[in-house]
Amino acid sequence: MPLYLLRRIAMTIPTLLLVSIAVFTLMRLIPGDPVLLMLGEGADPAQLELMRHQMGLDQPLVTQYFVWLRHALAGDLGVSTTNGLAVLPLIWERFHVSAAIVLTAVALASLIAVPAGLIAAWRKDRPTDLAIIGAATLMLSVPSFWLGLLLLMFFGQFLGWLPVVGYVPMSENFSQGVLYVILPIVTLVLVETGVLTRMSRASTIEILRLEYVAHARAKGVPESQVLRRHVLPNAFNPTLTMIGLILGHLLSGIAVLETVFTLPGLGRLMIDSIFARDYPVLQGCLLFTACIYVVINLIVDMCYPLFDPRVSVQ
């Protein structure tokens, strides 16, 4: 097992390096100078030069990259140019915000979607199937940020139950923190349930066609047990990959939802750092999201054999 793990990680290192180099160069290509942004257009060239020297931006691109890489490997991702905070703790704290919402939402969505897909496939082309598929397609078609806005207008503005804006971390004050997180989670759950229901229905239909289902029925096994013991475990694998994909994508920051709900998440951090040309923070964010992507894919591959013995870990 560890050998396979090592090989998988070794395979991702080139991708991570490639991503960091691509980001490093693209950031420098994009016009806009962080020092000018910080000091404002009023600062005269001498002051700009002074600050650029302090931040080491006057060195050639390649040395800057290796300086950054050396520090990154030692776990120090540098300091933000806009607010002077260390990058890694800042990212880690912002990641908590995004992760809390995404993980809860995806978990809830899976709990709803997998059984719903199962029933829809089992009752294929009958009223229940059409209803479930109709609902799933509807949920799939509503843009998440618009849905967020609507919920915000209804529950925040109109009813006033939930705060319209602002954020209190749950670690700080749980009762307040929960209020700010309910709406984003609900929005995400609705959207992701649509996606996962369709997926789990498709894979269940595939499984129902196979003969061991008929074989189980021929042995007199009751329908509910056929679904639970025979169909569900086999249908769950492709859905698991889909969940892995979704997690990998969302954890890199649901920027748009964070904008709608003014949540200080990872996505929001990335956008602000793009606009402020905050190179260290952006570099850190991208490396962090790439790592998340890798870790999630690894976890999905690891628990694959748990569900499907055919997939031996080679």
Binding site: Y212, A214, H215, A218, K219, P222, R229, N234, P309, Q314
Partner: protein
């Protein structure tokens, strides 16, 4: 249940099965009976409704197909009126069922032991230990090597034949009064087919279980069944005892089926021997890289073809037979340079093509062709028949457009597909598709054709037609042919010479009559023994 000796264990009366909004019923007014302990065969080609009838008995019809008429009596009680919950006591202990596809008949994610115990736990009050003992006992009975390990293993660790035996064991554990076997061995090769069927008959006799065998292979009917019923397009054509129904079939359709059984033709004159062989294979070796083990090391390579010599003379029909895994398909592909080979020579008209450069390889390819086994996969679904057959002519600059059109038309007529030029593959039947494949192979008048199991995926009657077509085309065009098959009956009809392969080596070769009548090697004898030849049986009865 008051089961007097002669009261039928199962009687089907006027059974009618229809598609939800289909026009023509799948099964119409079907009636038959199965006596306790009797072995009844249901014979018919694909589309005759035999599988649907069998599944209707256990109410396992796929969605969209329903039983709209008739009664199914099991031990005198009508099953068709029972709802799913009421069917539970019948499914398993009453009637057991074995399916066709071994690869997907066992749930891949559960251990074998669990799946077998499921039935027992459901229908009996036995303790876990007793269930375990019963399972081990049954596994030994179906000759599974290490029952202990087998219980903890997963289905994917076994071959097709082994899985079919495990399924048989798990069904027979419940000691059903009736076993329905829906083409249990179609997907297996002759040797494992023989073993599985012998086991099934043995288990049924021990337990007094009646068996309903659904098959399209008359050979099996001759060897195993006591009585048979013949179905055509959902209707009962004829019923009768086995030897009688094969020897003098009363109905026209049944006679058509019996005629389709391959018969030995008189051997061709011995003219071919002294000519210079068209294809000579000398010391050919083919091996595949071993599976990856660890970071860089690999398992030692697996040798598939082991220093093999072979001659094929022009116009000769050489049959290459052997069980699955004997390397016969690899040899065919290696000769045509479709599969890589490690050493040896392949001489075509005296020129070694194994290490030939591109131009020589191209010339070699122009002169030979390959016919595939699966009619569905060998034709490009996006091209019409005419284009498929015309494509090889691209490489014959000598023919102008008009000549090409004539040549395609000619070839289509030869294979009996005239007028179907504009059709697409998915609009044709299996037999018609295989004719298109043959037309494509012959349109360039090749000198050498390799036919890799060309007929084994077809129904019996269509198989006979295609074989006869192949023979007449060879006689007409005079191409040499390497006919690869595991079906000795077909080889018996068509081959001039027979080569028997086992694990990459030739164990025996000679003319068809010598090899078939006086087999020398034990493996050849086992193969011949395993091939059901009803006519020989019927001859003994007559």
């Amino acid at each position: 249940m008051n089961t007097s000796l002669n009261q039928a264990v199962l009687s089907v009366e006027h059974l009618k099965i229809e598609l939800r909004h289909g026009t023509q019923p799948l099964v119409h007014d079907l009636s038959f009976e199965v006596k306790p302990g009797e072995f009844l065969a249901v014979v018919g080609e694909s589309g005759s409704g035999k599988t649907m009838a069998a599944r209707a008995i256990l109410q396992l019809l796929p969605p969209g197909i329903t039983q709209t008429g008739g009664r199914i009596l099991f031990d005198g009680e009508n099953l068709s009126t029972r709802d799913v919950k009421a069917m539970r006591p019948i499914r398993g202990p009453g009637i057991g069922m074995v399916f066709q596809e071994p690869m997907v008949s066992l749930n891949p994610v559960h251990r074998i032991g669990e799946q077998m115990a499921e039935g027992l736990r459901m229908h009996t009050k036995l303790s876990a230990a007793e269930i375990r003992a019963r399972i081990l006992d049954m596994l030994r009975r179906v000759q599974i090597a290490d029952p202990e390990r087998c219980m903890h293993a997963y289905p994917h660790e076994f071959s097709g034949g082994m899985r079919q035996r495990i399924m048989l064991a798990s069904v027979m554990l419940l000691k059903p009064r009736l076993l329905i076997a829906d083409e249990p061995t179609t997907a297996l090769d002759t040797l494992s087919q023989r073993e599985v069927l012998d086991l099934m008959v043995g288990l049924a006799r021990d337990n007094g279980t009646a068996v309903l065998l659904i098959t399209h292979n008359l050979g099996l009917v001759g060897r195993y069944a006591q009585r048979a019923i013949v179905l055509e397009k959902g209707q009962l054509v004829e019923t009768g005892n086995v030897p009688a129904i094969l020897v003098e079939p009363k109905q026209v359709y049944t006679r058509k089926l019996v005629d389709a059984l391959p018969r030995r033709q008189p051997a061709k004159a011995e003219t071919a021997a002294q000519q210079q062989p068209l294809v000579q294979v000398r010391g050919l070796c083919v091996s595949y890289a071993g599976a990856r083990a660890g970071f860089f090391r690999r398992h030692p390579p697996v040798r598939v073809i082991d220093t093999l010599d072979l001659d094929i003379h022009p116009g000769e029909m050489v049959a290459l037979v052997g069980g699955s895994g004997s390397g016969k398909t690899t040899l065919g592909r290696a000769i045509l340079r479709l599969a890589p080979s490690q050493s040896g020579q392949i001489l075509f008209r005296g020129e070694d093509v194994r290490t030939a450069d591109r131009a020589a390889l191209h010339r070699f390819r122009l002169a030979c062709q390959l016919v595939f086994q699966d009619p569905f996969s060998s034709l490009d679904p996006r091209m019409c028949v005419h284009d498929i057959v015309a494509e090889p002519l691209r490489h014959l600059p000598s023919l102008d457009a008009a000549a090409r059109l004539r040549r395609v038309q000619e070839t289509l007529d030869e294979v009996g597909l005239d007028g179907l030029g504009a059709r697409y593959p998915h609009e044709l039947s299996g037999g018609q598709r295989q004719r298109v494949a043959i037309a494509r192979a012959l349109v360039r008048r090749p000198a050498f054709v390799v036919a890799d199991e060309p007929v084994s995926a077809l129904d019996m009657t269509i198989q006979a037609q295609v074989l006869r077509l192949f023979q007449s085309l060879q006689a007409h065009h005079g191409f040499a042919c390497l006919f690869i098959s595991h079906d000795l009956a077909a080889v018996d009809q068509i081959a001039d010479r027979v080569i028997v392969m086992e694990r990459g080596r030739i164990v025996e070769q000679g003319t068809r009559d010598v090899v078939f009548d006086t087999p020398q090697h034990a493996y050849t004898r086992a193969l011949l023994e395993a091939t059901p030849r009803p006519l020989a049986v019927s001859a003994a009865y007559a």
